[in-house]
Symmetry: C3
Subunit: 263 residues, 3 copies
């Protein structure tokens, strides 16, 4: 049994879908799923540009996004300090890190529970589109434990600091409207419109310059790390003579739509 993470990326297309599934557990993320997530995003990042998708939609199966860790597994390892450290730093952190290191724009399609590890996965996405009934949080203070530092730092990049205190110290869940108001999600729609809105936004990204996305995501990582440094600022402009740059500017001057086709 246990959960799974599946990727659907047919014919080297420009759209890929990653689906979290752990039936009967609101897609709780078990250890095998964290490992699969890491492998999938490391593989996506390693694809050559002409085979890589231009946008990845991350969603959960069965009307849920994902609801934290798989707590039944927790009893096996959480009470041993070395094994607990290993879980957070060598299993969870590399999975989230692989998502953050991915240069492709990621859209989280969020329905139902987006909680704990599920919220962390959504936080690694660039765009979060939520259904009206979705809910957000990490009520682990009920389980007697705090959030791991790397995971809390991740969340502090997508949610305002006061909201995070409320989420953790009150073990509070937020509904979609409050998540939108706090800036944690980018849009909220009725559940029946969620897939269509995500598809529309993904299609928009597919038409844009993958190079621009890749470099923008890199710069945002540099800023989050306290940079960019002087050498990073200088290296940034290496795209000057690229085909996508020429096509984009020339299309604008010629008053036509740009075509960022594969080579």
């Amino acid at each position: 049994m246990g959960g799974s993470v599946a990727i659907d990326h047919r014919d080297a297309g420009t759209l890929a879908r990653v689906t979290l599934a752990n039936p009967g557990k609101h897609n709780a993320i078990d250890i095998a799923m964290w490992r699969a997530l890491r492998a999938i995003f490391e593989r996506l990042q390693a694809l050559p540009a002409d085979e890589a998708p231009r946008v990845v939609v991350v969603s959960g199966a069965g009307g849920q996004f994902a609801s934290g860790g798989d707590i039944v597994e927790f009893v096996d390892f959480r009470f041993d300090e070395a094994r607990l450290h290993d879980f957070h730093e060598n299993i969870v952190a590399p999975a989230l890190g692989a998502m953050l290191a991915c240069d492709i724009p990621l859209i989280a399609q969020i329905d139902g529970a987006c909680i704990g590890g599920g919220l962390e996965i959504a936080a690694c996405c660039d765009i979060r589109i939520a259904a009206e009934g979705s809910r957000f949080g990490a009520p682990i203070a009920k389980l007697g434990f705090p959030m791991a530092p790397g995971e809390l730092k991740l969340l502090s990049g997508v949610a305002p600091a006061p909201m995070l205190r409320e989420m953790l110290l009150e073990a509070r869940l937020f509904d979609a409207a409050r998540a939108l108001q706090c800036g944690l999600v980018h849009a909220v729609v009725p559940a029946q419109d969620l897939a269509a809105l995500v598809a529309e936004r993904a299609a928009q990204i597919e038409m844009l310059s993958p190079q621009a996305a890749r470099i923008n995501k890199r710069t945002l990582r540099q800023i989050a790390a306290g940079g960019p440094s002087g050498p990073e600022r200088r290296a940034h402009f290496a795209y000057a003579d690229s085909a996508e740059h020429r096509e984009g500017v020339q299309a604008f001057v010629q008053k036509r739509a740009p075509r960022f086709d594969r080579g």
Copy 2:
């Protein structure tokens, strides 16, 4: 005469109340009050776990939270650089620092004026619940002086940067609705419902794991300081074999409410 800061923490209970009072001055914070605030929070932080409250509610007497420094005192010392430095760095900063260093969740119950030093005290709390008529700001540009660097840095952790510029450069007060919209406060209710909502949220925190709160607050401090460092990340997991951790996880597995009772 002058103001006072009182603490009500009976029978080593799980709830404590700290009350700011300076009658006739909207609870302006005078030097004695800054010193009392520091002493109270240093004492709270030093309590052994089985005597410490699990939540502290900070409020003001007489329908106000607190309204800045006590300006009548200002004439005595503000125009001398050494004494002005001493006031901000050796009187105000240690009081705010003692609040920030306190591992217990703090709830600000805000009615009326939450201004200047009062706003800074509220900013040291984890949760800010406001009455509809409350107002927020630091209109000290009318008094010809800027905000001290440590105090401005504190506010920049709870309010968006653009809001702070408006607050300081226009000497603008914000009403509760705007404070909510900006994320500065967590909830706004009619004044007559304020105490009840704070009590309800305090009661929720009292039932959660104090250990989780303590470690989460520590991690949030580490993040605000640019960390956590590698050693801090490693030290984080020392809670693995703790009673609260075991109780929380086991209660979940057993589908019962956890009991984070004192030893």
Copy 3:
């Protein structure tokens, strides 16, 4: 032809206006305008206190704020790495840097397009007041290129990180209501009320202490740079014995309006 940046600062008055104009191009910012912007703000910053304005309103001519770079110029230099680097680091960055280094409060009066370079100019202002029809963004992924690191860092100081990802990775424009919700602008009014509201807020700033504004802006820069350092914190209190400080505090004690007149 080409664009221009004009400053209107008559009789060493307390209000100055800076106007961006590039007719027929929605005030796109060309190289000459970036240079003019730098010169204007360096000159403003160098004025002695009794000649300097106390507030500067930045706006665009003809119902637009400004709409990005002048793309016709782009074809000349963007495809050469050294010239592209020179444009962003030695032409754009110093102009934005001169605005950020200016100690005088800056209000952006925003109508119509506030896009690309225009958005960056608005981001250097302290206060952004927008008309209902205005729109915000930097849809350069359509042009095949990313945002320069210094410019993206600038925007990350005034807009939430998730909003910036949406803006860049989807090449999305935001309307004024969304910009307000995200905290990017401070107020939104019908276009016909824009000038009046800006004038009212400028007049409020003109009455406040320029010294307080100057030091507050300096401290906010120090915080944005990861400080303030210990020496910066100590140097902060040099205003203790100043005329504006004495006047502000004494006026309050005497229950009268302060007068921060020039010497």
